[in-house]
Symmetry: C2
């Protein structure tokens, strides 16, 4: 097993156990068979996922001297509920059919409606149910976080950051919607969305929560590590996501090939391609990007533009530079050595992943 895999796998089991325990505590509220489908949908959805955010939180905790504390696994695992909520709502907003190799939540409920031959629009029922399922996971995430069992003093210091993370997440998602709608994304604006939409919330904030929970204070070095390591790994993570959304293998990503192209995502990758595209290449992007009917040939033509303009190589170069800078900052931080090794491995795992 590689070091990257170990840094994730070591906490995967812990997180899974904590999620199962939390969901089991909710189960008595879902004994009505009509409601049981909500709980099963949550469980099936949560079975997937890389547990990346819990891992950053866990290793942040360890980095600041946190020891073997059962409460931490609940606090960390709560971030996986938040991520599940965000993905379920995201798929409604993007009208995505597939997630983690399965039908997206709204499609799952749409199918239940269609198979039962119920009244009204199956699409509307699917979307409404998925909005509610996402809400349930959102409120559960807060409940699980608060009830972790960690010391009240630790939670009190971290809570304002947790609150702000949620506001920032919703704002970042809105900026992303806006960026796709305005369609005028420059390289800079796309990079800003990458940071706000995912970078901060996927890496910086989980890491910060772990650090602050253990330190019970927000030291200057914590801020420095969160910005210099956290934000840079976060952006690189999102850039990798952008690349996988165009070039990823469906068997590994669990999403159709070129899905981001069909959805018209205005990513850093696309902005970089347009910045050095010939008029003919620009026309290809203008004509094909965001076409919901885009076929394999269209995906191939857009991929060619992204490669030929040098955008793919440029993004790979950016990922490498952000990663190098992050690892350098990590080397300077006054943290526990075992956590330093694990956070280095996590940074590599998050930015070189294929799924």
């Amino acid at each position: 097993m590689t070091a990257s895999a170990a840094s994730l796998d070591s906490i995967r089991t812990e997180v899974d156990l904590a999620l199962r325990e939390f969901l089991d505590r909710q189960r008595p509220h879902f004994s009505d068979p009509h409601l049981a489908v909500l709980l099963s949908a949550a469980e099936d959805f949560l079975a997937g996922g890389k547990r990346l955010r819990p891992a950053f939180c866990y290793w942040g905790w360890r980095a600041a001297g946190g020891g073997d504390e059962p409460g931490l696994r609940f606090a960390a695992a709560s971030l996986e509920l938040l991520q599940a909520s965000a993905l379920i709502h995201d798929d409604v907003m993007d009208a995505s059919d597939v997630r983690r190799g399965m039908p997206s939540a709204h499609r799952r409920f749409e199918r239940i409606h269609a198979e039962a031959g119920w009244l009204g629009s199956a699409r509307q029922f699917g979307e409404g149910s998925a909005v509610l399922l996402g809400n349930l996971l959102l409120v559960w995430s807060g409940e699980m976080w608060r009830n972790s069992g960690l010391a009240p003093e630790a939670i009190a210091v971290a809570q304002p950051m947790h609150d702000y993370m949620l506001t920032e997440l919703m704002c970042g998602q809105y900026l992303d919607l806006l960026e796709q709608a305005q369609g005028e994304s420059t390289f800079d604006s796309a990079l800003r969305v990458a940071l706000y939409k995912s970078g901060k919330y996927s890496v910086e904030q989980p890491l910060r929560l772990g650090l602050v929970l253990a330190a019970q204070a927000n030291h200057a070095w914590i801020d420095r590590l969160c910005v210099q390591y956290g934000q840079q790994v976060g952006i690189a993570f999102q850039l990798r996501d952008d690349i996988l959304g165009v070039f990823g293998d469906p068997a590994e990503t669990g999403k159709p090939a070129g899905d981001d192209l069909r959805e018209g995502k205005r990513t850093v990758l696309i902005a970089r391609a347009l910045a050095s595209a010939t008029p003919a290449q620009t026309a290809v992007v203008r004509d094909l990007l965001g076409d919901p009917e885009l076929d394999a040939d269209g995906v191939g033509r857009l991929r060619a533009v992204i490669e030929e303009t040098g955008a793919l190589a440029a993004c790979e170069g950016m990922i490498k530079r952000y990663l190098d800078d992050a690892l350098h900052a990590l080397g300077q931080a006054p943290i526990e050595e075992e956590a330093r090794t694990a956070l280095a491995a996590l940074a590599v795992a998050a930015t070189s992943r294929r799924t």
Copy 2:
């Protein structure tokens, strides 16, 4: 001013001030003009609303001996953020165009998209933005509740009830979606949805939170009052809502005439009508209920069936009985006299309202 109006108005100003203070604390995060529209949409939406849930919470607090405590107004006002979130998501799920006499949140964002001539579907942008705005209000509701400034011991006792209220709210909304989709609502199943969807969350839980925050314990008499007064006022409140959704005056409700009929809502009122309808009357309901194009003539024909089957009178009778029982239970409870008077007036206001 009537006693009912006074019991609401006396806390309306307090709640408005608390909401303004909370939103002002969020303002620095919304200095980016792209994000400022989210905050204005929240402010405009919150300007409406009857502050009914905060009122039940406030008078619950006073009933259990709570004094003049600034923190309570924040805890109570947080329920208005929750209600705003639920309505915004509800309107997306029901595809409702109008709320509180203004375009619903998703229509507001849809219009921004259309007027700017942005890319992609204006409908999808509107719905996505409204989902995120609802999420923002949902997380803010929790944040405002926790940061009320009330004694940590009081919050600790009430928190599990607050958590459960949120789970129950999402489940109730899902049961409502299901009820409309299955379309087989019996009188009993419609009554159950009325209790779960709105009854508990509109009256019982806000009241319970106020009582428990003041008592810092969950006494048997609190439970009794919450069930015997809270649930009964809650169901009567929802029955009034059902009647207003069919017979309400658009100038007062802020929603188009017969809106619930067009949306095909399977309410207690409809279930009661179907239970004693002739085959011809049943055919009218089957043909017209849920027709999105339903015109004034169709609304009139459905209203006639509801009146002629005796369903309207039956529902009015139920409201009266629930109210009488609730007031009787209120009379037995060991609570402060001023709060008893106010809760009696509130029960009347909630069940005889015209908006």
